[in-house]
């Protein structure tokens, strides 16, 4: 599901680099990179030494020229010294750039690993509410693709950029000593190329870039729509429509793209031309010939310009070269920093221990971010040893209510108390030890069945695990799997939806919590799972249980029923009492009743 939307979201959610929407201090990527600084320095130094050494053969040719052209007999020794120098330079270059590249990539791997670990740590502490509002696929992209996109920043950029400037500077310094006028002439192509740059950055170009991004986003959306709705599309003959939409989005995108390319490509092609070796050589030769015929330049001094002059264009080329990659990397870093900067739910300074397992909600209000309030003043007490069933139409705030107990969110107003203590004053571990939950959405890990059941109780014994599995009516099914409890789910075997739900129930039972929140919402896929749920509820009779109920049976068995409507408690009481009143509850109760009576 997440990956489905990743492209759209990447477009929508890419903040400007350095942007920090959480408002906390920006998590410093520099701090993460700090320990690697010496390695970075080594990469850069090796690269620069290698690149500068790469000039040696060119100097050797220049020296050879001087030796050959100088009047009198040729100084053989000078020639061979020059050749040896050139060969040595090449060898040094080979070794140093090779070492730099190797080290750079190894370093890159290490930095990526530490970034990913930091991200995992950050995600492991982010408020569940924050995670819930993001698509897992999108976050996985930050950990995966975005970290990988930093690659050019780490493995290539430092060394290549530094040498793209150092090497031309060395050449430039040398050329200036030979003939400063011809040096200036040699720089003409560079100046011409640079003159193109403002043309690439006009307001119109920026606007086109924005249009481009937007059109790209539309394509991604229409593809997702096309593919996700394909069954409907086919079944209801909507293929034309969805296909048409995709085509329109694609055509529009290509138009914008073509327009953009047309604007940019002429300029880019002009720039490429100015930097192309034939043009640079033409400029150097023309300038050189003028200087030589006027007698201001010794012919052989033209040689350095022919050989080194081309290298002067390197910085401009380097700027254009990795520019897209670098921009992408910048955007990726922005997203990484956003995740690293996510706050953890504040933990109490001096945690209090709850007296018992009574849960109280006092005037609880809650809204997601800037959205409308989902819960609007809930007062509710869950006595230990009772089962409270929450019912209500979809969108009434039932699930949100359930999620406040394990503190996935903190209420925006009022308080949730456990054993007389505000959840915010309870140590996270203590809270989770006491409050367990079975969510709508069952997620099994690609790990052994035993690990899956013991997820919340890492040191559970085999007996505990089997007991929980038996209670959840899944023990026999597990024994039928290829490796029993050691079967790796999703790899050795796949479970059906109902079976997965039973594993989730076993999980909650293994944790053996005094307070349990159970969300029945998802189709409990088969009667067997229904029974497991019911058995679980009766097993836990001495606990404090809150059920987001969807099945009439659960409601009938509850000690207390709470009917939630539009974020407020519309009715509450024992099921029988509620029925006596002729309200909404009685209305949908009757609907079900008719169906169940034979």
């Amino acid at each position: 599901m997440g990956a489905t939307h990743s492209i759209v979201d990447a477009k929508r959610s890419s903040p400007s680099p350095g942007g920090d929407p959480t408002g906390r201090q920006p998590a410093s990527t520099a701090a993460l990179l700090g320990p690697h600084a010496p390695s970075f320095a080594a990469v850069v130094v090796l690269q620069v030494v290698g690149a500068v050494a790469g000039l040696a053969p060119l100097f050797a040719v220049i020296e050879l020229g001087r030796a050959l052209v100088s009047p009198g007999p040729v100084d053989t020794e000078r020639v061979w010294t020059a050749v040896a120098l050139g060969a040595t330079g090449l060898f040094v270059r080979l070794v140093f750039t090779g070492a730099s590249s190797g080290l750079g990539h190894v370093l890159d791997g290490r930095v990526q690993l530490s970034l990913r670990r930091a991200l995992a740590r950050s995600l492991g502490q982010a408020p569940i509410g924050w995670l819930a509002r993001r698509r897992s696929g999108e976050l996985a992209r930050v950990v995966g693709d975005d970290v990988a996109a930093v690659h050019p920043f780490i493995a290539h950029a430092p060394g290549e950029l530094v040498s793209a400037f150092v090497v031309p500077l060395v050449s430039l310094a040398y050329l200036l000593t030979v003939d400063w006028r011809l040096t200036l002439i040699t720089l003409i192509p560079v100046a011409l190329a640079l003159a193109h740059v403002p043309l690439l950055m006009t307001a119109a170009r920026t606007r086109e870039q924005r249009d481009f991004d937007a059109a790209m986003g539309r394509i991604a959306t229409s593809v997702v729509e096309f593919v996700q709705g394909i069954a409907v599309v086919k079944a209801f003959g909507g293929a034309e429509r969805a296909h048409h939409r995709f085509r329109t989005a694609a055509d529009e995108f290509v138009d914008i793209f073509t327009h953009w390319v047309r604007g940019v490509s002429a300029v880019a092609a002009g720039m490429q031309l100015a930097l192309s070796p034939p043009f640079v050589l033409l400029v150097v030769l023309t300038g050189g010939t003028m200087r030589i015929t006027s007698g201001d330049l010794v012919p052989v001094d033209l040689l350095p310009f022919l050989l080194l002059g081309l290298g002067l264009t390197a910085p401009v080329a380097a700027l254009g070269h990795g520019f897209d990659d670098m921009q992408a990397a910048g955007r990726a870093v922005g997203r990484i920093r956003e995740v690293l900067g996510v706050g953890v739910l504040p933990q109490p300074a001096c945690p209090a221990i709850p007296r018992d397992n009574r849960v109280e909600l006092r005037d609880v209000r809650f809204g997601y971010d800037d959205g409308p309030e989902v819960l609007r003043g809930i007062d509710l007490t869950l006595e230990p040893g009772t089962l409270t069933a929450v019912v209500g139409p979809s969108g009434s705030g039932k699930s949100t209510l359930g999620q406040l107990l394990p503190r996935f969110f903190d209420p925006t107003h009022g308080s949730v108390r456990l054993g007389g203590v505000d959840l915010r004053d309870i140590d996270a571990r203590e809270l989770y030890r006491r409050v367990s939950f079975v969510l709508q959405d069952v997620r099994l890990l690609r790990a052994s069945v035993a690990d899956n059941i013991a997820l919340a109780v890492p040191h559970a014994t085999a007996e505990q695990i089997t007991r929980a599995a038996r209670l959840a009516h899944i023990h026999d099914r597990i024994l039928a799997l290829p490796n029993g409890y050691e079967t790796v789910l999703g790899q050795d075997a796949t479970l059906s939806g109902g079976e997965a739900q039973r594993i989730a129930i076993a999980r909650a039972l293994a944790a053996d919590p005094p307070v349990l929140v159970l969300d029945e919402a998802t189709a409990f896929a088969d009667p067997r799972t229904d029974q497991a749920v019911r058995q679980t509820l009766s097993t836990l009779r001495d606990r404090t249980v809150l059920v987001i109920a969807h099945r009439l049976e659960t409601v009938a068995d509850a000690d207390q029923v709470v009917l939630l409507e539009n974020g407020v408690v519309a009715a509450r009481g024992r099921p029988t009492d509620l029925l006596a009143r002729d309200g909404t509850f009685a209305a949908f109760w009757r609907t079900r009743q008719e169906d169940l009576s034979r």
């Binding site: 040719v61 060898f91 729509e225 409907v232 390319v261 070796p277 050589l281 367990s436 019911r534």
Partner: protein, 585 residues
């Protein structure tokens, strides 16, 4: 590479593509040739009369002008072909996607196809616009230069030519190493990505065990594997990358040594040898950039190959002479269907007379939904036949077949548009009154009332602003509007809260009369209204008969229900909890 590109593109783009490649090649050759003029220019400048260089210099300037014109044209041509191709590829991909069977689209496809349609196509286009030019020039120009050198001095030319096979070999070698490693790397990345998603989704549970902050071993192992794979890749590819540099540098050194030797021996003039060395430097630079360009081309190639795979997936065959069914009874005749290596349906035979209702019951994974999908021909059977009105579905025109069927799924996807637009999908030419009537019958009017914006309210991508039950009401309205003789219901009411369930049920009741219905369900209430019940397990029909018959028989079916009626249901045995509640309901 080019052939793969051309195959992905289709024939119509082959000609402009070939023309662009030709133009780029000519440009690259011209670049190599014009360097030859360096020799006479330098000879004149180093000679007694430097002004003799003038005419040669003019010739050089003219060649550069010609080169500039060609290069500019070929750059723009590359861009133009690229954008034209992009449009063609979008259209081709769209048409192809629309023709692929529904069964092809599983959960993973959505992500895959989205990536292909955005990044994939752009990469493919980038080959023509950005990569092909530099690549051709990096190959052709040095070769031309070597030829030029050979013209001036055959020994030096021969020495330079040695580089050619070596460069080709190292490039091949690098490509092989890279491909092997890329696959490994991609697999690790994929694994890590899956682990991250898992880790995120398991957060609530992990935290319940107080494990939120700690390193999660499964994920950490995957991340370390990615790093190790990256390191292995670096180390194994490094020799090949260094190999290219080494080759180019060794040959340059050889030219330097040989040139010096020849010059000292007087076999070649100073100007010539210097010009040759300048030329050699010109040949070396693009060759060194070859590893970079080559890497990018390989990346693009991988993307193209994925595109190619999708484009070469065959849609379900369409009949040459389609037959129109005249009746609407349904029949499965010894149907076997496999998905991957799992047998989903194993020799299933059953039939539903026209106008009757059949309920399909069974544990999850029994193949119930597949049964419905085979009627709508989302897949084709492996053996046996599915018939509508006695006609094999493979002999019916797919459009005609689907026009006879209304499907209501458990999970309903709505298009980003208004409720009305989504209902109207059922029959685009329906009048407003008909649309409203269908909506009312499906109790969609209640939903519309609740929504700000009413009928004109946008339902969001996938129908996100509606709840599951509300989306189902839309899909029932759609089906009602469609008025098709065959109705397929897939676990329609299993995921609903009581209010929505009542509404949906009412809609279904209105939908079923007079039509042939197959419904997959595990709600007793629905099953009891069926004429026949089939109990499916593990892809086989285990029991078949009316609800009452099957209950009396006391087999699997009766077992199945006894589970869910054992307790908690009024009139059945009291549950432990209800005992303490006194009266209960």
């Amino acid at each position: 590479m080019i052939s793969l590109l051309l195959r992905v593109l289709g024939d119509e783009y082959a000609t402009p593509m070939r023309r662009t490649v030709a133009l780029m090649t000519v440009t690259a050759v011209l670049e190599g040739l014009l360097y030859a003029l360096l020799v006479p220019v330098l000879r004149a400048l180093f000679g007694d009369n430097p002004s003799d260089a003038g005419p040669w210099l003019i010739a050089f300037a003219v060649s550069v002008a010609a080169y500039a014109a060609l290069r500019y044209t070929s750059d723009l041509s590359g861009m133009r072909v690229g954008t034209t191709m992009l449009r063609g590829m979008y259209h081709g991909l769209g048409e192809h996607l629309a023709r692929l069977p529904v069964g092809w689209y599983d959960a993973a496809r959505v992500g895959e196809v989205s990536v292909l349609a955005s990044r994939g196509l752009l990469t493919a286009m980038g080959v023509s616009a950005h990569l092909l030019g530099p690549f051709i020039s990096a190959c052709v120009t040095p070769l031309t230069i070597v030829a030029v050198i050979a013209v001036f001095n055959w020994q030096l030319g021969l020495a330079a030519l040695v580089a050619a096979p070596l460069v080709v070999l190292t490039q091949r070698w690098t490509a092989r190493l890279m491909t092997a490693n890329d696959a490994d790397h991609a697999a690790r990345d994929h694994e890590a990505s899956a682990r991250v998603i898992e880790y995120l989704q398991a957060q609530p549970v992990l935290r319940a065990g107080g494990r939120g902050g700690e390193r999660f071993a499964l994920l950490d192992d995957a991340l370390r594997d990615v790093e190790r794979a990256a390191r292995r890749q670096t180390i194994s590819v490094l020799p090949a990358v260094v190999g290219l540099t080494l080759t180019v540098q060794a040959v340059f050194t050889a030219l330097l040594v040989l040139g010096s030797h020849l010059a000292l021996g007087g076999d070649i003039g100073s100007a010539e040898i210097l010009a040759v060395l300048v030329l050699a430097a010109r040949a070396a630079d693009p060759l060194l950039s070859l590893s970079d360009t080559g890497g990018k081309l390989r990346a693009a190639r991988a993307e193209l190959a994925r595109l190619d795979t999708v484009l070469r997936t065959e849609p379900l065959p369409e009949p040459d002479r389609p037959v129109r069914p005249r009746r609407f009874d349904l029949e499965f005749d010894a149907v076997t269907f496999r998905h991957g290596d799992r047998t989903v349906l194993d020799g299933v035979s059953l039939s539903v007379p026209q106008g009757q209702r059949m309920a399909v019951v069974g544990p999850s994974g029994a193949g119930k939904s597949t049964l419905l999908q085979l009627i709508a021909r989302f897949y084709d059977v492996e053996s046996g036949a599915v018939r509508v009105g006695g006609v094999d579905v493979r002999r019916i025109d797919p459009g005609v077949l689907l026009a006879q069927i209304a499907i209501v799924f458990q999970d309903v996807y709505l298009f980003d548009g208004t409720i009305e637009e989504n209902v109207r999908l059922g029959r685009p030419d329906a009048g407003d009154a008909e649309v409203r009537a269908a909506a009312t019958a499906a109790r969609l009017d209640e939903v519309v009332e609740r929504l700000p914006g009413g009928w004109g309210a946008n339902v969001g991508e996938g129908g996100a602003s509606l709840s599951g039950g509300e989306r189902q009401r839309v899909s029932i309205a759609r089906a009602l509007l469609r008025d098709a003789p065959i109705v397929l219901l897939d676990e329609v009411t299993s995921a609903l809260d009581p209010v929505n369930e009542a509404a949906v049920h009412e809609g279904i009741e209105r939908l079923m009369p007079g039509r042939t219905v197959i419904m997959v369900t595990h709600r007793m209430r629905t099953v009891r209204r069926a004429d026949r019940v089939v109990f499916l397990d593990d892809g086989r029909v285990v029991e078949e008969g009316s609800h009452e018959e099957l209950l009396r028989r006391g087999g699997r079916y009766a077992d199945f229900w006894s589970l869910s009626t054992a307790s908690g249901v009024p009139g059945a045995a009291p549950s432990p909890r209800r005992a303490s509640d006194g009266e209960g309901a």
